[in-house]
């Protein structure tokens, strides 16, 4: 295999050494009954006709396991929109992977959840858009979503799956974070993931309606810290803070191409779910090349591996192996340059402007959303 011996290089031609991935996000469909205005799917959604088959997913899972992946996060869109979801799950378990199912809870009946249990789902992660029917239904753009989620949660408990509640927070619901944590506890969740909206793609179109204030970000931090102490040994709180109000950027993906990868509905392989916002980057597909070759040899995965590609101030920064220069997609969105220091970093020359714009968006009075929808036609 001559190809395997080729020297992987970053986008400047510096040699890099790929590690092994631990986790894979499998976005098996972009179809979703919800229309959340901060959806992490790309703005150009993949249509059902382009989705790869359950057998294709089986091949991808086996390749992933051979590559070192231990866990798969089966997500979407809403993964339940695929009628063959149980078959996809079964393939993942057969490959030896630990299966996390990330769902809105909408469109999966009790019978189907029992079927998914038999197929081998290890853990269920249920999204929460708000804390009451009115808020949850308005944010998700789906009347009745709250009641369906609560019923779904009952079935999860009945079957005995470990449950994680996934709460996305932003300006319009952050005050209710204590109630979300209480609800997760009441539902018997082992974990709650509290993630502040990340302003890529759809969320970027809704900055004025979603950007939290600095005071809210501080409030959320205090709620999380107090909750962790109160709930020690009973429920885990994982927290993704509002990085527009932070001093340093988040270590996106734990470093580009270092421990995780994302496979989209049509088989496109991405270093992170938002990577397609880097418009000049070309991504490869599992229908054309093996996952191992894409991981080790593709230009997209190698582009930002290591630290040699970094510009100043990252290059001389002692945190360059802590946060890896931050998020490449955020650098693209805010600096217009995917190589730049993530502008949310206080050391970025663009930082003052980013903070000013975030404060301006946070002070906006609009509450109207641009909902995530598939475009017509095509």
């Amino acid at each position: 295999m001559k190809d395997q011996q080729a020297q992987p290089r970053d986008l400047d031609g510096n040699p890099v050494t790929p590690g092994l991935p631990m986790a894979m996000l499998a976005e098996v469909t972009h179809r979703c009954p919800l229309a959340c205005p901060y959806c992490s799917n790309p703005v150009d959604l993949v249509r059902a006709s382009k989705e790869i088959s359950a057998n294709d997913w089986g091949r991808v899972f086996r390749q992933a396991a051979d590559l070192g992946v231990l866990q798969v996060h089966i997500s979407g869109g809403e993964p339940g929109a695929r009628k063959d979801l149980a078959q996809i799950v079964g393939h993942a378990r057969d490959a030896g992977l630990y299966v996390n199912l990330i769902t809105s809870g909408i469109g999966i009946t009790r019978d189907r959840l029992i079927e998914l249990d038999r197929a081998g789902v290890d853990h269920v992660q249920l999204s929460l858009q708000g804390i009451r029917p009115d808020m949850a239904d308005r944010i998700s753009g789906h009347p009745g979503s709250w009641d369906k989620k609560m019923a779904f949660s009952d079935w999860v408990t009945e079957i005995g799956f470990p449950l994680t509640i996934n709460a996305v927070v932003h300006r319009q619901n952050m005050e209710r974070l204590p109630d979300m944590i209480d609800l997760a506890e009441r539902l018997g969740a082992r974990r709650i993931e509290v993630a502040t909206v990340q302003f890529h793609g759809w969320a970027d179109r809704n900055r004025g309606a979603l950007m939290p204030t600095r005071e809210q970000a501080e409030f959320a931090r205090q709620v999380v810290n107090a909750g962790r102490i109160r709930l020690r040994g009973r429920m885990v709180i994982d927290y993704v803070p509002a990085d527009h109000h932070a001093v340093y950027p988040k270590a996106c993906m734990g470093g580009w191409g270092s421990t995780g990868l994302n496979v989209g509905p049509d088989g496109t392989v991405l270093p992170c779910h938002a990577a397609q916002t880097i418009d000049w980057m070309r991504f490869e597909n599992v229908q054309e090349r093996s996952l191992s070759e894409i991981w080790h040899l593709s230009d997209s995965f190698n582009a930002f591996r290591g630290t040699a590609w970094m510009p100043e101030p990252c290059r001389g920064c002692e945190r360059k192996t802590v946060d890896f220069g931050g998020c490449r997609c955020q650098a693209m969105a805010l600096a217009g340059d995917a190589r730049a220091t993530d502008p949310v970093c206080s050391k970025s020359p663009l930082h003052a402007g980013v903070v000013a714009r975030a404060e301006e968006d946070a002070a906006a009075t609009t509450t109207d959303f641009v909902y995530r929808r598939m475009s017509k036609g095509g």
Binding site: G68, G96, Y98, T164, R190
Partner: protein, 97 residues
């Protein structure tokens, strides 16, 4: 770090948490919701003892006998290790029946 486990508690791996071999890296891992912990030999030795029947106290005594080590030292190591996992909800406790 205050302990979350007492000598009479019976620690066990709940549903959704399991020990598994990592054939690519040649190690053992603890698979749990959204986490795969790479285990060293000590961690693996401790977790292999969790059978849902024996208490912490019994497990410590068995490990001390097997590795010919002082009970107090083993007790501290095991309690600290399990407390970390209890905090992460990867190990549950039940009372002796």
């Amino acid at each position: 770090m205050s302990t979350l486990i007492q000598a009479h508690d019976i620690p066990y791996l709940p549903r959704g948490v399991r020990l598994q071999g990592d054939r690519v890296r040649g190690i053992r891992v603890l698979q749990a919701p959204e986490r795969a912990l790479q285990l060293d030999q000590i961690g693996e030795a401790i977790l292999s003892e969790l059978d849902g029947a024996r208490s912490l106290d019994q497990i410590v005594r068995d490990l001390a006998a097997r590795y010919n080590a002082p009970v107090d030292q083993i007790a501290g190591d095991v309690r600290d290790f399990l407390t970390g996992l209890i905090e992460r909800r990867m190990v549950f406790l039940k009372d002796a029946a």
